[in-house]
């Protein structure tokens, strides 16, 4: 049997604080504090006065009699001229591409009555066939953002396009000085070409590319491109501050590659080993087999130790770093030459130069790095942008354009950007909303949302993809490229422009090939269109930057999986998405180790004032983060918007970009800071710590060594004592079993594949019309997510007498993720306690929930051992108090018309996407056949980038799930809380760690 591993969800559970103990036993707060403010006497005492009662009675009678009158006349309005391919009630799917700030996803968009309602991965794509990122999932809501610009702006005033074009034409004719086009990374070949064509008419034109979270150093060390990493070919992966599964470069592409060599089965008992050296606890670090916390100032030393050990063969040793782990990493790397990969997220050219040299020395080129197919997802050049900021301040810039760029918010020198812009005669922004930079522009020519646009992309050399509009523009916006064409006096549309460009790469009959490319969304015949010329000074290996004074606190600016660099901060789904590690929603915070918080006498929620080297300060609450490197803090970027065009993000968190500083003509995302405690407290709305597992066996993990030895012993199965000896819990049952004749739906979740990214939670939210409840409600433990990813920290308990593990378990715990959703128990405890039979079992194994029968007793939620039921405390639609997704006509377009919008006072929970099950069966019936395996999938399974979730019919012996269950039976397959004998239809597979 495995060592007894202690799991805990957060520091408060580890310590069992009184506050936690109180909440743990009390799933729902005691009373419903609906009365706000002072509250009237009657509601305060909870008693109703006679007069109030009579008033209510009178009102009810009147309401009922009114309702009994003629029902309101409802209109049914057909198309005037029905488009050929739109059939009311039937979904259409279009292939397109989501790309923003490095996050590339080839996607399919589901539209109903010509409105996009859901984004799913495009299985035709070779790069992202399995799933999407959470941000791509949420992007469908952004198109319905009411705060996008509705018309162009001239000096902040609404204007007509004709007028803007006219004024710009004359201004562009008389521009003097340098013309700069500032954008984040552009991976569209046609757009890039068009920008250059547009610039060719000016004498002095520069296309300045910068990324808010830059990878300049990496690019400098690799000739201006991101090396063609292939994690699937690596047996040993060493990551140094590179969150490649969560936010670094192209996480969805990398996650797919990474997991390919992490899945184990009885036939394939090997997996990669992953070392991670990092400061903050990142998603990638959480998935690593061996994780070593390092300070940012130690990064250079760690990489040079690796470099020296691999190049010279000396022993790697860095003061203060786990020597054993470092030595093991070197040993493994050397032993796996040609199958090893080292990646670093550092923006120090010297570090990146060493990493490139290490990879070359390890023979990674041609194996784990394909030099022929580099990635283009990041091209930003810090030096170029810094030069432009100086030029603007010098007054030598005549005109500047901003496309997908918001430096007034997200550049560390935002102040200088703002002051510099004042000296520029012509400032044009293409922002979709009046963002921080657009507010300073003379002209705002709002761009379409990506779902309204034509475009092409090349994220990786030889992998082209197309974007097509899936709805007609909602507002009077115009695609940036069309604006450029118009201002260049070019009469062709951008659509024609792309088509003409694609003539170069499409073979055969052009129209047919083009239609196929648009249909597939991708073109993967190896042809490439994007040309990237390196503008970087080559990186050389140098000495480390000056270390901060001993004892100084080093702050790290990091990107969160949901919010990224803040471009999409106004998306309420993303704001309410629990961070994979901290499980916090709505806002950023200061992460620090437990030791530091104790030394500084801080507890979680205390607001601290963080003062940076440049004198700027921000105030944020403290979050105690297990695994955070000692002497460091982490603060997420992208928060702290204060503009009116981002009402959802306004005032949420603080802007931490000033932490980044300019060093040697580049930007580093760290700086020494001072921390002072303030008297304020601000609660952090975390999701998971709401329940306790009471030391029960919920997640299971084991080591690869054990798995190779005997796969039958990696999972612990609970046995019940009976008079005939220990028995499987399912053999001792009060209940009769169901007989499933037709289908028996089930799900298998591989804990070894789940990286915890959270794409499934957003996918579920989009598919099932799950409301956003806001920070206050999350704090009240009333979030509505049907699916959550539980994150457990763990450490081996002290019994082993291993001195290393006897240290504080919160210092560097292991992390395990467990997607948790309704388990659709065959003997469901919720079904037996419902007094009105609103939840009951279906003949296909689903635990059904009939909202309109529910009277809201919440007995079911109390009786659910998995705590997956959610109660509608309020009406979340048409309610000004919840002004997120269901309170205005535009945002309501995103609702799935096949799923009920629940009312107040009813319970809800995961339905196994019964609407998809029903539709899949119907389509099969209409074609007189049985459903094909893989045809019916839940939203979570479809959007999982690592294929961790398998959904299917367990009655069908040929289905993937049946085969998987048969294969893993008695090995890794287990049910959570099996001893309760609720017999879930969701099965988990034990996580396997490849420990050194």
């Amino acid at each position: 049997m495995q060592d007894r591993i202690k799991y805990w969800k957060g520091i408060e559970e580890l310590d069992n604080t009184p506050e936690f103990a109180k909440h743990a036993h009390n799933e729902f707060p005691e009373f419903l504090p609906i009365g706000e403010g002072s509250g009237q006497e009657s509601s305060a005492t909870g008693k109703t006065h006679r007069r109030d009662f009579l008033k209510l009675l009178g009102f009810s009678v009147a309401a009922v009699s009114l309702a009994s009158c003629e029902a309101p006349v409802r209109k049914a309005i057909p198309y005037l001229n029905k488009p050929v391919d739109v059939e009311p009630g039937t979904a259409n799917w279009y292939a397109t591409t989501y790309y923003l700030n490095g996050d590339y996803n080839s996607v399919l968009v589901k539209t109903r009555e010509a409105r996009p309602i859901k984004i799913e991965p495009n299985p035709t794509s070779a790069l992202t066939p399995l799933g999407t990122s959470p941000r791509a999932q949420a992007a469908v809501l952004s198109v319905y953002d009411n705060n996008r610009l509705r018309t162009p702006l001239i000096k902040g005033k609404e204007a007509k396009w004709e007028q803007l074009d006219k004024e710009l034409a004359s201004k562009l004719g008389s521009v003097s000085g340098k013309v700069a086009f500032v954008s984040s990374t552009v991976i569209s070949p046609s757009t890039k070409q068009l920008i250059n064509e547009f610039g060719s008419r000016f004498g002095n034109f520069e296309h300045v590319v910068y990324d808010a979270n830059s990878s300049s150093a990496l690019l400098a060390a690799n000739n201006g491109v991101v090396p063609g990493y292939d994690f699937s070919k690596a047996n040993i992966i060493v990551g140094i501050n590179a969150d490649f599964l969560g936010t670094w470069l192209a996480p969805v592409i990398f996650a797919k590659q990474y997991i390919a060599n992490r899945k184990v089965s009885a036939d394939k008992k090997n997996m990669s080993r992953h070392y991670q050296f990092e400061t903050i606890m990142s998603l990638t670090g959480a998935n690593a087999d061996i994780r070593v916390p390092i300070k940012p100032s130690e990064e250079h030393a760690v990489v040079s130790a690796l470099y020296n050990a691999i190049m010279g063969g000396g022993a790697a040793n860095v003061a203060g770093i786990d020597a054993k782990a470092l030595a093991n990493a070197v040993k493994d790397l050397k032993a796996n030459a040609g199958k090893a990969l080292v990646v670093s997220g550092s923006n120090d050219p010297s570090v990146q130069a060493m990493v490139a040299a290490i990879n070359t020395a390890l023979g990674a080129n041609g194996t784990t790095i394909d030099a022929a197919t580099p990635y283009f997802v990041k091209q930003g050049n810090d030096a170029q942008m810094l030069r432009l900021i100086n030029d603007m301040n010098n007054g030598s810039v005549g005109a500047v354009f901003f496309y997908n760029a918001n430096p007034a918010f997200d550049h560390p020198l935002a102040d200088k950007v703002i002051s510099g812009l004042k000296k520029v005669a012509l400032k044009v922004s293409f922002a979709e909303r009046n963002d921080e930079t657009a507010m300073l522009a003379d002209y705002v020519a709002p761009d379409h949302n990506f779902l309204e646009s034509w475009n092409d992309y090349e994220p990786k050399k030889g992998y082209l993809s197309l974007a097509q509009p899936v709805l007609s523009p909602i507002f009077t916006t115009r695609q940036m490229q069309d604006s450029l064409l118009a201002w260049s006096g070019n009469a062709t549309s951008y659509y024609e422009y792309i088509r003409n460009n694609w003539r170069k790469v499409l073979t055969g009959d052009f129209n047919k090939a083009w239609e196929k490319a648009v249909h597939d969304g991708v073109l993967q015949n190896g042809s490439s269109m994007l040309t990237v010329s390196s503008t970087f000074a080559p990186a050389t290996i140098g000495s480390a930057a000056a270390k901060p004074a001993a004892g100084a606190i080093e702050a790290v600016l990091y990107e969160k999986v949901a919010i990224g660099n803040g471009t999409e901060a106004n998306n309420p789904w993303l704001q309410e998405m629990a961070d994979p590690i901290s499980k916090a929603t709505w806002g950023n915070y200061v992460t620090m180790s437990r030791k530091m918080s104790e030394d500084m006498q801080l507890v979680q929620g205390n607001v601290v004032k963080v003062t940076m080297a440049n004198g700027k300060s921000i105030e944020l609450p403290v979050l105690v983060q297990p695994g955070q490197a000692q002497g460091t803090i982490g603060i997420a970027m992208g928060y702290g918007h204060t503009i009116d065009s981002m009402p959802v993000a306004k005032g949420v968190g603080a802007n931490a970009f000033p932490i980044a500083s300019v060093v040697n003509n580049g930007i580093v995302y760290t700086s020494p800071v001072k921390i002072e405690k303030t008297s304020a407290t601000s609660e952090i709305a975390q999701m998971q710590t709401h329940h306790t597992i009471m030391d029960r066996l919920v997640v299971q993990e084991n080591t690869l060594a054990q798995y190779i030895k005997n796969p039958k012993e990696v999972t612990e199965y609970v046995r019940i004592a009976t008079h005939e000896g220990p028995a499987k819990p399912s053999t001792v049952s009060l209940w009769d079993d169901y007989e499933y004749k037709n289908h028996h739906w089930g799900m298998v979740i591989d804990l070894n594949s789940c990286i915890g990214c959270g794409a499934c939670t957003i996918s579920c939210q989009a598919e099932n019309n799950i409301p956003v409840v806001g920070k206050a409600e999350v704090l009240m433990r009333r979030e509505m997510h049907w699916m959550r990813i539980d994150r457990y920290y763990s450490a081996v308990e002290h019994e082993e007498k291993d001195y290393a593990t006897m240290e504080d378990p919160a210092e560097n715990p292991s992390v395990i993720f467990q997607p948790m959703l309704c388990q659709h128990c065959n003997h469901a405890p919720c079904e037996t306690v419902c007094p009105v039979a609103a939840t009951m079992h279906s003949s296909e194994g689903l635990n059904q929930m009939a909202y309109n029968r529910c009277v809201g007793t919440r007995y079911c939620a109390n009786n659910c051992p998995y705590k997956v039921r959610r109660f509608n405390w309020f009406a979340y639609s048409n309610n000004d108090k919840f002004d997120y997704t269901m309170n205005n006509d535009l945002a309501k377009f995103v609702l799935n018309p096949d799923v009920t919008v629940r009312g107040r006072g009813v319970m809800e929970k995961c339905s196994f996407c019964v609407q998809r099950v029903q539709l899949g069966k119907l389509e099969a019936k209409r074609e007189n056949r049985r459903p094909k395996d893989g045809e019916i999938v839940t939203a979570c399974a479809q959007s999982c980038p690592t294929d961790a979730i398998v959904f299917g019919d367990m009655k069908d012996a040929e289905s993937r799930i049946s085969k998987l269950l048969a294969r893993e039976h008695g090995e890794r397959a287990f049910h959570v809380l099996e001893e309760l004998n609720v017999q879930p239809n969701v099965t988990y597979l034990t996580k396997i760690r490849n420990l050194a």
Binding site: K75, A76, Y79, L80, K82, E87, T90, M840, K921, R929
Partner: protein, 441 residues
């Protein structure tokens, strides 16, 4: 509970009847109850069974295929009889023309006209030089249409009036319910006869008693006591003052009041019979009834989609760009198109948002006729809501209706399993069709 609502008016009527004729209380109520149900059932089946008579020499499958093609493509302009809609009626068309000529005409009539074919030019001129659109049918498909037209001529000879026949309904499918229907009619007759007999009985008895009384008064010498007995005078005030009668009347009054109240309350939100005035006086009777245009022609997604879809104006224009252009109602469509404003019909069938309903599930998979739920739509000048659309009404049908499993591989194994375990019909309900998550999610 809800199921009663659908026939509540009729039930009440019955109860009063039963109450008055207290002799037949139990029997009457029961008999009528069944007969009402049966009526609904027969109505549902009626249109489907009209196509039962298949006459003619051709293969029924070919005729079926031809029927579908005809109704979806030709019926808009041609009748299978001799009426002229836009183009000529196709009765006996095979006798008039050669098959090869017909095939080339259907495929591309303009080419035929231009080639100078005398018949083609004559037809073209006869019908105001209105070109028939070309259809990309295969030869077999055209032959199947012709076979269908031929078979229709035979049917017309056999049954002079045909209702717009739905396609694909297997004859004799609802034999069971038909039988109940027949029994229901019989019971109705029994009841009427019974009532008549009772009335006759009462009248006879009254006559006999008056005869006897007359006889006794005239021919017998009666003492005072006997006289009193014979010439009993009916004292109404006694009845009026009787406690029992008063209680009974009060009771009836209260029951009626309660019944009415309950009726009203349960009827809230149920719009059975709702027939709002529509912006354009479109008549289903004219289109679906008289001209036999297939429902699917206008409600084009009824076999494919959740929604049957209300036709867009361009579908109207397929015909009305030529036909009845001067009608003021049709002018409204033109105006809508000119102003680029869609026609705002008043919605009649409203299911609450919490219920999921899919047309194709019922039409394509279940083989349910439009009329089963929408009533005799081909007879409606103004469409009204025929069915109550309550949950009880849905569930009733799901409990009673056998699944349409014929030739559907999806059900093959299920039918076998069902036959092993049960002797009853394999209904929608026995396949889980009454579970919450089949309609509520």
């Amino acid at each position: 509970m809800m199921a009663m609502i659908s026939c509540i008016l009729k039930t009440k009527h019955k109860i009063f009847l039963a109450f008055l004729f207290s002799l037949a209380v139990t029997f009457g109520a029961q008999a009528q109850g069944e007969s009402e149900q049966a009526k609904v059932a027969t109505k549902g089946v009626e249109p489907g069974s009209t196509e039962g008579a298949q006459v003619g020499s051709a293969d029924p499958a070919v005729i079926d295929a031809g029927a579908a093609l005809f109704k979806n493509n030709c019926a808009v302009c041609h009748s299978a009889g001799s009426d002229v809609i836009v183009g000529p009626g196709l009765k006996d068309v095979q006798k008039r023309r050669k098959e090869s000529w017909l095939i080339s005409w259907v495929k591309n009539s303009q080419a035929l006209i231009q080639s100078g074919d005398a018949d083609a030019v004559a037809i073209y001129n006869e019908y105001n030089k209105q070109a028939m659109p070309s259809f990309a049918f295969s030869d077999d498909e055209i032959k199947s249409i012709l076979a269908y037209v031929g078979s229709q001529a035979d049917v017309a000879a056999a049954t002079p009036t045909t209702v717009a026949g739905p396609e694909g309904a297997a004859p004799g499918e609802n034999v069971g319910t038909d039988a109940i229907g027949a029994v229901g009619g019989y019971l109705d007759i029994v009841l009427v006869v019974l009532i008549v007999v009772l009335i006759v009985l009462v009248v006879t008895l009254l006559l006999i008693s008056s005869l006897l009384k007359n006889y006794l008064n005239k021919n017998r010498d009666l003492n005072e006591d006997d006289k009193e007995v014979v010439n009993q005078r009916f004292d109404f005030s006694k009845v009026y003052k009787s406690k029992a009668v008063r209680t009974l009347v009060m009771l009836i009054f209260v029951v009626v009041l309660l019944d009415l109240a309950l009726d009203k309350v349960m009827g809230i939100g149920i719009q059975e019979g709702y027939a709002p005035k529509q912006p354009i006086a479109f008549s289903h009777k004219l289109h679906a009834g008289d001209h036999q245009i297939n429902c699917n022609y206008c409600h084009s997604t009824v076999y494919e989609s959740k929604s049957a879809s209300i036709p867009s104006a361009n579908i109207c224009m397929n015909c009305h760009s030529q036909i009845k252009k001067e009608s003021p109602e049709i002018q409204k469509i033109y105006r809508a198109i000119e102003r680029n404003k869609p026609i705002e019909w008043v919605r009649i069938h409203n299911l609450p948002d919490l219920a999921y309903f899919n047309h194709s599930q019922h039409t394509q998979v279940g083989g349910v006729e439009c009329q089963t739920c929408h009533g005799p739509i081909q007879e409606m000048d103004v469409v009204y809501q025929y069915s109550p659309l309550t949950m009880g009404w849905c569930i009733d049908c799901h409990r009673e209706t056998p699944l349409n499993t014929e030739g559907n591989e999806y059900y093959d194994n299920l039918v076998k399993l069902h036959e092993q375990s049960s002797k009853g019909a394999f209904t929608v309900a026995s396949n889980g069709g009454t579970e919450c998550s089949k309609c509520h999610y």
